[in-house]
Amino acid sequence: MSTALGWLAAVGLAAGLVMGFGVAPREVTQGNVQRIMYLHVPAVWVAYLAFAVGVAGSIAYLAGRRPGADRLAHAACEVGTVFLGVNIATGAIWGKPTWGTWWTWDARLTSVAVVFVMFVAYLLLRQAIEDRERAARYAAVLSIVAALNIPLVHFSVYWWRTLHQPPSLLKPGSSTMPPEIVAALLVNFAALALLGAYFVTRRARLLAAEEEALA
């Protein structure tokens, strides 16, 4: 199944590139630099999707104590962190020519950064505990805290920033996107989701093999 997912992801990524660079038009106000969005936006969607899978796996592990659920949670949270890292990095590269700065403490940037740090902490905790069973339990609890904390982080950071700048600045003309751009975004989302799913299955298999080797 993993190999099939991998090939599907490869085909999807190729289609995504065609959509992003061939079909989608040059954006009027931003120019071609807007094409980074076909990578940047789907990456954060896939990251949050992966975290949702990770938390579901964590809850399932705490309920049933099957090691497979924990491996899924671990793999999904790690892959989600990788995708969120790509999202933040590409966002900075997009922001430099568009906003004139690599980073600004804008509401969305800040909340994504906090979520990123929370899941890096999750991975650090996993690394610090040798006993697999205990690592699984602790990490599951941490991922539940992190997940429930996400809405709190979003609200607080949003209020914190919007006292200084109107929210209209945060969503420049999202309603007037041409259909080709929407299509390109969705194709790239599907492609990156396939890539993420491929990574998760691969990583979960690797974790199983590691456990077997240690046993």
Binding site: R26, T29, Q30, G31, N32, V33, R35, I36, L39, H40, A43, V82, G85, V86, A89, T90, I93, W94, K96, P97, L195, F199, R202, R203, R205, L206, A209, E210, E212, A213
Partner: protein, 44 residues
């Protein structure tokens, strides 16, 4: 607005490096584990 193709290339290049690097790390680890496991059954 200028096109800033270098920034586009940098973003896609960086993503390719990160995803490719992660994939290669997964494959390498899997191979190492497989190599570790192979000699085991031959042992008495």
């Amino acid at each position: 607005m200028p096109d800033n193709w270098t920034f586009v290339a940098a973003a896609y290049g960086l993503a390719a490096v990160v995803f490719g690097g992660y994939w290669r790390w997964l494959v390498r680890k899997e191979r190492e584990l497989a190599a570790l496991r192979l000699p085991r059954p031959s042992r008495p």
